[in-house]
């Protein structure tokens, strides 16, 4: 490439002459012409080169180069230099200008170089990043010119990186050393490959090779760091989903001592509430209000699932207080009925709940992994819910009554607290939170009638692991399960990792039958 660029004659600067060069001569001549077109930067070049790769560039008998364009079934011929329409020539009478793979590479490079100077910042960024794929001296020259005029800092950084890569393969020794140093701070796998190749090449200078080794080691360290950060984020994300699923259970099971196997179905009902809200917004409200459906569905899900919870408590569970195993069976029955009811109404296939626009996409904080907005919002949402709940338990009258009833029911009753009402409201609160969890889950996965069964075993394990009747324990339990799960996944695979976690929890419960943060004293005895 280096030689070719030098060999381009200065007299060929003329666009028309270069286009003529495309039509004549060997593939090597065409390649020279393409490269020269690329460096020249004429505005007509982009469409011309695209036509060339697509096989739409034709050569007339008189040496004229013609672009054929097919739009809505009719083929139109256009002069490649003047851009005028040509009538009266049969496309079949013209010869197609043939390209080979090597030429395609040159065209791609030239196009990338041209877009470096585009007025569209997105195209410039893509070109700067794309330039990494074909580093060469020509690229280096182009990038230097582009950097000189570039204003956007993000595009500048990308260009600098590509420039370093280009200098690595084509620069002087000093330039190469500087390039290696600059490249050692990246995490891009392409650059790692480039450095690997450079290091492995037999004619590499030993000093450069040493520098490359150091750079590779530093890249390796960074990649490991990124891996840990990615696992950590995904673990916290999974943990927050588990936490959301388990907070409601921590109230109904942890605080009230009710084994609610229909808890998963409360989550499922919440998710379907989000689905219904979305459909209502789509059907009855202007299209640009659709993003607000999520804001409406959170309280809607809380109220709906909470109401179902209150009905469940008044009609079934209150007859079964103090008989946990019977409660377990009865609520399992409720869960079967709710599942089948939803399946009868909405059908068994998964329902699609789309993210609002402000929750789609993500950003890349350190390079190498993406934090998606929906996961981030769920983490935030989960902590807000937990915080509000803690405040409610400790700072409101309802929370006070709730704690009084769970600690000593007869005494609370004697003090005038209406225990039955508190029971129903507490159960409704736990179910309502499960409903909100369902809205959150609808943003990261499918909504189906058996959504709840996926989370029920996990939620119980989180509550039991963290220690019954303890919100802090639930928080620690959920986050540690989530993080451990994600760190085990790359080592053991997703399913095996989950099995390992289950076995570890089973063993853990043997060691500490009352969980991580066991209640001590008289209330703990009453739980048993």
């Amino acid at each position: 490439m280096l030689l070719l660029v030098d060999a381009v004659p200065a007299v060929a600067d003329d666009f028309a002459a270069l286009v003529g060069g495309l039509a004549e001569g060997s593939f090597a001549d065409k390649e020279k012409a393409v490269t020269a077109l690329g460096t020249q930067g004429d505005p007509r070049t982009v469409s011309l080169l695209q036509a060339l790769t697509d096989g739409r560039l034709l050569r007339g008998a008189d040496g004229r180069v013609v672009v054929s364009e097919t739009a809505s079934g009719t083929t139109r011929l256009r002069d490649s230099i003047t851009g005028e329409d040509i009538a009266g020539i049969e496309p079949d009478s013209l010869g197609r200008i043939i390209v080979n793979n090597r030429l395609r590479g040159a065209i791609e490079g030239a196009l990338a170089a041209l877009t470096l100077f585009s007025t569209d910042p997105v195209a410039r960024l893509a070109a700067a990043q794309g330039s990494l794929r074909h580093p060469s001296a020509a690229e280096a020259a182009l990038l230097e010119r582009a950097i000189a005029t570039e204003q956007d800092p993000e595009i500048r950084t990308a260009m600098q990186l590509s420039l370093s890569a280009a200098r690595l393969v084509s620069g002087s020794k000093e330039e190469r050393l500087a390039a290696i140093r600059a490249l050692s701070t990246t995490t891009d796998p392409q650059i790692k490959n480039l450095l690997d190749e450079f290091r492995a090449a037999p004619d590499t200078d030993p000093e450069l090779r040493k520098a490359a080794d150091a750079a590779l080691a530093s890249i390796g360290n960074r990649l490991r760091l990124v891996g840990v950060a990615a696992n950590l984020f995904q673990g916290i994300s999974l943990g927050s989903v588990l936490l959301l699923a388990a907070i409601g259970l921590a109230i109904t099971f942890g605080v009230m001592g009710v084994i609610n196997m229909a808890h998963g179905e409360m989550i499922m009902l919440g998710a379907y509430t989000a689905y219904v809200c979305q459909q209502l917004f789509r059907a009855f409200l202007p299209a640009d209000w659709i993003d607000a459906y999520l804001v409406v569905s959170v309280p809607a899900a809380f109220l709906f699932a909470g109401a179902v919870g209150v009905v469940l408590e008044r009609s079934v569970i209150r007859f079964l207080y103090g008989r946990p195993l019977e409660t377990l069976l009865a609520t399992w029955g409720v869960s079967l009925i709710l599942q089948q009811a939803v399946r009868s109404i909405f059908g068994s296939p998964n329902k699609e709940v789309s993210n609002p626009s402000w929750m789609t996409g993500g950003f890349d904080p350190i390079g190498g992994f993406t934090i998606t907005w929906n996961r981030l919002y769920i983490i935030l949402f989960c902590f807000i819910v937990l915080g509000v709940l803690v405040l409610m338990l400790n700072r409101t009258r309802f929370g006070l009554h709730m704690r009084a009833v769970t600690q000593n029911r007869p005494m609370a009753s004697a003090m005038g607290i209406r225990t039955a009402r508190i029971d129903a409201l507490t159960f409704g609160l736990g179910s309502g939170i499960a409903g909100m969890a369902g809205v959150a889950l609808s943003q990261v996965g499918n909504v189906s009638p058996n959504l709840g069964t996926i989370y029920i075993v996990d939620s119980f394990l989180v509550v039991v692991f963290g220690g019954v009747g303890n919100l802090l324990g639930t928080l620690v339990g959920a986050l540690s399960l989530g993080i451990v799960n994600k760190f085990l996944e790359p080592v053991a695979g997703a399913i095996l990792g989950k099995i390992v976690v289950l076995v570890v929890i089973i063993l853990f419960i043997q060691r500490r039958p009352r969980g991580l943060f066991a209640l001590k004293g008289r209330t703990a005895e009453a739980e048993a």
Partner: protein, 380 residues
């Protein structure tokens, strides 16, 4: 163990009991094959061929329900992972049946079952060794669930994991096993499980006479299991179990080894469940990991509580009735089955906590058992 004092209970082995037991046995062992085999198929009294393995299947479920009733009804241990022991017994039998296929599989490999050839396995993994012998497979049917229950129970009961906590970790156990068996590289056929069996002990598994033989084996296993459970519940150990169900700490303070007593019945119960699974697999012709699903295990509890928890006959009656209803409803109106099952769960706990047998028993005997329905140890 110190001797138990107190009034001698009515003998569990009275003449009346044996008469009833043998009458049921005769009906099941003699009448069913007679109606199926010798009555001409077009007569209204004839039992069609398809019903024999179906009845056999119900009897396997009955044995499974019996095994859960032994620990739940009598010792207060609600295992939500009993389906796991059932499935493990089934898998042991399934492995034997797979090895009996020999070269008749799709790939005709004399050593490897079809799914292993399909997954490019080169040799038989060690845990499949010996399963071509029936005696070894039969031993494994007993040993695998038994050992798992022994280890699991030892860990759980030693550290006094009781009540709901035990239920949840047994559920986690069967859930973990389900995930494990769904994996293709475990070597148990992955999510397809094992099927396409050809013969058992040399007899063609699809022959009516083989099916009748399997049915009679199921009746015998259920009968023997029933006698064993009755022997245990009527013995001194049975009374210790009842006592620890109602007041575990008190039994412990009185000097009985609660851990050993629980461990013994838990292991025995797992073995019974394993045997039920082993008889179930050749009659339905397939075993797959969904048998491990937590839902299946909870369903066993509903058979027991429909029939009458803490009564051995109740477990059998419940299993047969609920499953007959399931077969009929899933055929007639599949939408309604889950509603009915869910309603059964709620009604049996809220309205009929003593189950069918409890309702039929004379009131004086119910009162004696009424306390058993609400174990005092579980009161908050």
């Amino acid at each position: 163990m110190p001797a138990l004092h107190g009034g001698q209970q009515r003998s569990a082995w009275s003449l009346g009991f044996w008469t009833r037991f043998l009458a049921c046995g005769v009906v099941l062992v003699v009448a069913v094959p007679a109606l199926n085999f010798w009555v001409p198929p077009d007569s209204p009294a004839a039992l069609p061929d398809y019903l024999v393995p179906l009845l056999g299947k119900y009897l396997c479920y009955a044995l499974l329900a019996l095994s859960l009733d032994l620990i739940w009804g009598y010792a207060g241990i609600l295992s939500l992972g009993h389906g796991a022991f059932f499935a493990l017994g089934g898998y042991c039998m399934g492995m034997y049946l797979m090895r009996q296929i020999g070269t008749r599989g799709v790939y005709g490999n004399p050593l490897l079952p079809d799914f292993m050839v399909f997954l490019n396995w080169k040799e038989l993994p060690w845990f499949w060794w010996g399963f071509d012998h029936f005696a070894y497979a039969a031993a494994m049917v007993v040993l695998v669930p038994g050992l798992l229950a022994l280890v699991f129970g030892w860990l759980a009961f030693r550290s006094r994991v009781t009540g709901v906590y035990l239920s949840i970790i047994t559920q986690a156990m069967t859930y973990a096993l389900m995930l494990a068996f769904f994996r293709n590289d475990m070597g148990f056929g992955g999510n397809n499980g094992m099927t396409d069996y050809k013969d058992i002990l040399g007899w063609d598994i699809h022959q009516a006479s083989t099916r009748l033989g399997l049915y009679i084996a199921s009746v015998s296993a259920l009968g023997l299991g029933f006698l064993v459970c009755r022997y245990i519940t009527a013995s001194k150990l049975g009374r210790v179990l009842l006592a620890l169900r109602d007041a575990e700490s008190r039994v412990r303070f009185l000097g009985y080894s609660v851990t050993n007593a629980k461990l013994f019945v838990f292991t025995l119960s797992a073995v019974l469940a394993g045997i039920a699974g082993a008889l179930y697999v050749p009659q339905v012709g397939i075993i797959n990991p969904s048998e491990f699903s937590p839902g299946n295990s909870i369903e066993i509890a509903i058979w027991v509580s429909v029939g009458g928890r803490g009564t051995l006959v109740g477990a059998i009656v419940g299993a047969v009735l609920v499953n007959s209803a399931k077969t009929w409803l899933t055929g007639a109106a599949p939408e309604t089955w889950l509603f009915v099952l869910g309603a059964l769960f709620i009604l049996t706990t809220l309205v009929f906590p003593r189950g069918i047998v409890g309702l039929l028993r004379p009131p004086s005997r119910i009162r004696a058992r009424a306390a058993a329905v609400v174990p005092a140890g579980e009161r908050a």
